[in-house]
Symmetry: C2
Subunit: 179 residues, 2 copies
Amino acid sequence: MDIKYAILGFLSWKSFTGYELKKLFANSMIFYWSGNNNQIYTTLIQLHKEGLVTNQVQHQENLPSRKIYTLTESGSEYLKQWLLSSPEIPQIRKSFLVQLAWSNLLSQSEINTLIEKYEYEIKMQLLMHREKKRRGDAVNPSRTSRENYIWKMISENFIRSYESELAWLRELRKNLDEL
Amino acid sequence: MDIKYAILGFLSWKSFTGYELKKLFANSMIFYWSGNNNQIYTTLIQLHKEGLVTNQVQHQENLPSRKIYTLTESGSEYLKQWLLSSPEIPQIRKSFLVQLAWSNLLSQSEINTLIEKYEYEIKMQLLMHREKKRRGDAVNPSRTSRENYIWKMISENFIRSYESELAWLRELRKNLDEL
DNA sequence: GTAGTCATGTAAGACGTTACATGATTCT
DNA sequence: AGAATCATGTAACGTCTTACATGACTAC
């Protein structure tokens, strides 16, 4: 999948500048791109060339001008086509599992340390996500109750992934200790 | 993370040719790279330059020659250093969640179709993994009971991820129907 | 005075994929 | 006859990341 659909999605919510989009990407987990300049600005320029978005330059005093991007009719159509396309299977890459796979080269205590470090990282992620959900400061267009529910469930999806990982880790540790 | 550690890991198990490694990657989920020629052969050449592996050319009649790669002492050291390094957090990319996020543009029945398609894909993945585990034909060095257990738990990790996803999907569907 | 925000853009490079290239052998 | 396996390698390209570049303003 491509960042362009995520950008078109944001613009289907409301108009944004590249700078604003960049921050939205940087602060979200669902929209998993880093939010680096290169990708955002060049994608916007390309979408503009293809007529999927228009922009309006807003001059400001004492601040740089901003380009406010708006979705066009054909942009909306293009996005909708993608929304209806068959979902891809999740791409899950856990380099920790690769470390574990070759942990035969490590001692029992080195393995335990490795697992503990990973467990700590996962717990931190979980805390972050739970805190974001609790504070309700996660991005959420919330145009309808359905949309609001869907965005909450998207947050919940991440939380459950981490919870499932922790449950798995507890079992792993317990059985390794008994071995 | 880099494919080179995964390759060094395989070679810490036993010697392999590039072609064999390619198939190992293509058939495994944990070692999530596609197993394309370019990456494998060029990485092996680079590892050889760095002295982390050596190779021995084996000429065969009626078949192309093969280069059998073996881990060196310094390759083993290099791998071990990485094994001891702090695990990265999992990289989870679910483009389906991006589709869901902007599903405000879709009708209720279009959303349901989308969810059903995704559910089907996840179920298929789960079946595949369960079947692989049941048949016991998944790659597993199984040099010690500890290693055998760890590799089984790695398979289990994938199965649980998909099970957790399905449980989440059931809840999503149920509540969207009631909304 | 150092760092951060606002705002846009470019350059260089890492990582990964598909496809191209060769050529004999074996299976259906 | 056509496809797959064995075996190595290269080319072209897509995607994403970090870092560079500018310049004014604001906050500590």
